[in-house]
């Protein structure tokens, strides 16, 4: 057999922003952006979020902008 290993629980991830054109990436909407950060505030990588390269780039830029104007945290604070 060709060594095309399919993961046991493998599920093909689809970029949410490609699948749904009504979703927009905007640094002014921390709610959508927060979905793509960990609870510590890090940006979730593409291999986990399943975003396509284009949208991941846009997301990264939007998250960084949102952080600058204090809509998103740079890192978790306090007791964590």
């Amino acid at each position: 057999m060709i060594t095309l290993k399919r993961r046991k629980y493998g599920r093909r991830k689809v970029c949410r922003f490609c699948a749904d054109s009504s979703l927009t990436i905007d640094y002014k909407e921390p709610r959508t952006l927060r979905y793509y950060t960990t609870e510590r505030g890090k940006i979730i990588p593409r291999r986990i979020s399943g975003c396509c390269a284009k949208h991941q780039r846009e997301l990264t830029l939007a998250i960084k902008r949102a952080r600058h104007i204090a809509l998103l945290a740079f890192s978790a604070q306090g007791s964590n």
């Binding site: 599920r11 709610r31 902008r65």
Partner: protein, 153 residues
């Protein structure tokens, strides 16, 4: 003329009149520089994600306008000088600015505003509540994703 958008955060401990005067001042600076205002949005007092200049809240104002680069530079220079402004961010939306189309959009927005006067009245507490909700949602999502990640490895 290019199409820009600026968000700035005004010090939360200013009185309402002082905040209005501060916003008025910056709008004046833009208009003196030949800018065409499309939208002015007051998000009101919101909680900041982290402490900025020892403040955990801030009064957010959003300007959308068409202006030359020089006008934006002048606006940002004044932001730096003014201690009432604790953060600002300017983003270019488009390289070209269609004044007529924007004037039309502005008129429509104002007509809508006049039709539903009662709509824009949200106290800042609403924002905080929804923030908390979001955090709860997020935690679940992240855990979910972690689990998936483990499977892959």
């Amino acid at each position: 003329m290019r199409h820009y958008e600026t968000i700035f955060i005004v010090h939360p401990e200013l009185s309402e009149e002082d905040t209005a005067a501060c916003v008025e001042k910056f709008r004046g600076i833009l208009e003196n520089g030949g800018a065409f205002m499309v939208k002015e949005d007051h998000w009101g007092r919101r909680r900041l994600a982290y402490v900025v200049k020892k403040q955990s809240k801030g009064y957010f104002v959003l300007f959308e306008y068409g202006a030359s680069g020089a006008a934006v530079a002048e606006l940002e220079r004044n932001f730096k000088i003014d201690e009432q402004v604790i953060r600002y961010l300017t983003v270019k939306i488009a390289d070209s600015f269609d004044e007529e189309a924007m004037a039309q959009r502005k008129a429509e927005a104002e007509a809508k505003k006049a039709a539903g006067v009662t709509a824009p009245a949200e106290p800042d507490e609403v924002d905080e509540d929804s923030d908390n909700d979001d955090n709860d949602d997020d935690d679940d999502d992240v855990r979910d994703r972690r689990r998936r990640d483990d499977d892959e490895d």
